[in-house]
Symmetry: C2
Subunit: 353 residues, 2 copies
């Protein structure tokens, strides 16, 4: 009897890994030269401009292997970048993927990661055209660059919000942040602790838990809603919600030279969020305001477009909710039902703190 050695990256080497990745990749007519040359060559559609964005995911900062099975990590690595192109009203097209990986990582991990990455790509008609692979001395780092395109007139920036515009958000907020509390609670290696009592009874079902954790681990970029808004030319400004609606609307407001008033009770919360937190004395709105990783779209629009917006977002299978009004004073505030200012801890996620 012989022992079978686990197949690791050091077994197949860098070029073995690149061939393995390249073998799973789809082709598209816009790709003149894909993986395998010094640079990829692509053709931008006539009349369109190029949209580019890049995101880095670092092990034990953005993800933990104890939470994230590699398939979902692959999906999310691309999803967060696609979300940035969506937030500009762009059509996501091509991706570059760089992986720094410990040489002893099982090949199966990379295979499953790529399987998730390419599934997310395929669902959004995105094509992997290049990247880099190298070894890491500690932990996995994933760096994704996404490219998209759009006609200049349909690109939606952060900078176009006007006073008295409505503030809108797609889907629901705070699910991912609640999911994070849950996986952190379940993870004995948790470093950050949890703001929710871990042992307290919950009214949520197993399905609710799955939904909430899924929102954290496998976010869905809102591409079709964003494209519908871009095509209808109704959004004056748009951003994706990655650091919490308060921080991200703050960026939008700053770039537009405006402020905003957000109604706490209008923040869209999922049924799972409500059931799972029903046992708490107060609704944990801070998760919806500042929790991060929602990957919903926050956008502003003139009030004359309300019906049009509901219609065009509905076609993409999600809801859009009005959560406040753009103000001319530069301050962004959150108010309770009675108009008084909500003063609970409300800060967006900030690295390096």
């Amino acid at each position: 009897m012989t022992h079978k050695l686990p197949c690791t990256l050091s077994t197949i080497g860098e070029f073995g890994l690149i061939s393995r990745i390249a073998a799973g990749v789809s082709r598209h007519e816009s790709i003149i030269t894909g993986i395998g040359d010094d640079a990829a060559v692509t053709a931008i559609s006539a009349g369109m401009q190029l949209l580019t964005s890049t995101d880095m995911l670092v092990e034990n900062v953005h993800f933990r292997r104890s939470w994230h099975v590699p398939y979902r990590l692959g999906r999310k690595s691309l999803a967060v970048s696609i979300s940035d192109i969506a937030a500009m009203g762009g059509i996501p097209r091509w991706a570059l993927l760089s992986l720094a990986i410990p040489p002893e990582l099982p090949l199966e991990f990379v295979d499953n990661f790529m399987c998730g990455f390419l599934a997310m790509a395929s669902e959004n008609q995105v094509f992997l055209i290049g990247g880099d692979t190298c070894s890491s001395r500690s932990g996995i780092t994933v760096s994704v660059t996404i490219m998209g395109e759009q006609y200049p007139g349909m690109i939606v920036r952060r900078s176009g919000a006007m006073p008295d515009d409505d503030i809108w958000v797609t889907g629901t907020l705070g699910d991912a942040a609640l999911g994070l509390e849950m996986v952190e609670g379940a993870d004995s290696a948790s470093l950050t602790g949890s703001r929710l009592p871990k042992q307290s009874p919950s009214n949520g079902t197993v399905d609710d838990s799955e939904f909430l954790i899924n929102r954290l681990l496998d976010p869905a970029p809102r591409v079709s809603a964003a494209l519908a808004l871009a095509e209808a030319a109704v959004a004056t400004a748009m951003i994706d919600v990655s650091d919490g609606i308060l921080a991200d609307y703050g960026h939008l407001a700053e770039q537009s030279g405006v402020g905003g008033c957000i109604q706490l009770v209008d923040l869209p919360l999922s049924a799972s969020f409500r059931r799972h937190t029903a046992h708490l004395p107060v609704i944990p709105y801070h998760l919806a305001l500042s929790g991060g990783e929602d990957y919903e779209l926050c956008f502003t629009a003139h009030r004359s477009n309300r019906e049009k917006i509901v219609d065009c977002v509905k076609k993409s299978g999600i809801a859009a909710t009005r959560i406040g009004i753009v103000t001319s004073s530069p301050e962004v505030k959150v108010v309770n039902r009675d108009g008084r200012r909500y003063t609970a801890q409300i800060e967006g996620f900030n690295h390096f703190i």
Copy 2:
């Protein structure tokens, strides 16, 4: 008297860092929206195609802080990516930069890194249009995506080499590999050891040492030579030499479905390389063949273009040397002056081994 705390990334936070980086960035008319939105928006020149490439540099894998002052690390981080666009005959245009950095890293490090990165950008008319910053639990990771453009007919791939074409290389080979031996020898933390006797007398001068180490730490991408070759439409295939001429010509040959015969004595060695290794019993050709990090251009061309090639590369201030002939048999071999096969250790750099 008060103690001044060192200013670190945790002092200014993620958005402080982004503002600091954005403040030093130049603008160009091709950039419709730069740093500060979900994605950057750029306009590709009419009739051109998009070239994209990405590279990741990991601390203690690709660089060590004990060798690389941050300014030079910034320069090199961009240079290696620019080299990929050059190797396609492309015009480098825009860059995205992602940094994963330990929160305790002094701000001065990032400032100097950016100063070097932006100097390299400026020297090559490249503009930084976006990126990502996040914290790292161990060491610095730099991920750079470079975008360029070129008319379809002028893009040079790895795949066009024809039997009987000449094999050419710009500049000199092996300097960076010799420089690596030198910094490893000087670095008590060296993990990899050195193939050259560290204590042996050297005939090289201090200037030679500086030149060789500089070739490792501050490589110059061969953009103008590559563009001259692309415009003259003389190169049938091209690649940049990052893993050693033997491995990289091997990639070119594989993509072209050809082989090659490289003349050992024709490999261009710098005067510094020759002087610094004059005390050794044999010329360490393995450094020129397999050392890596030369960032020269290796290209193939029909023999009728020899004069044209020398002329158009000369204008860019470097030399081009014929080092062999493309063969129809798929093997790549290196031969001595007497035609016998050179059999010393000749392998390209491979991560994960």
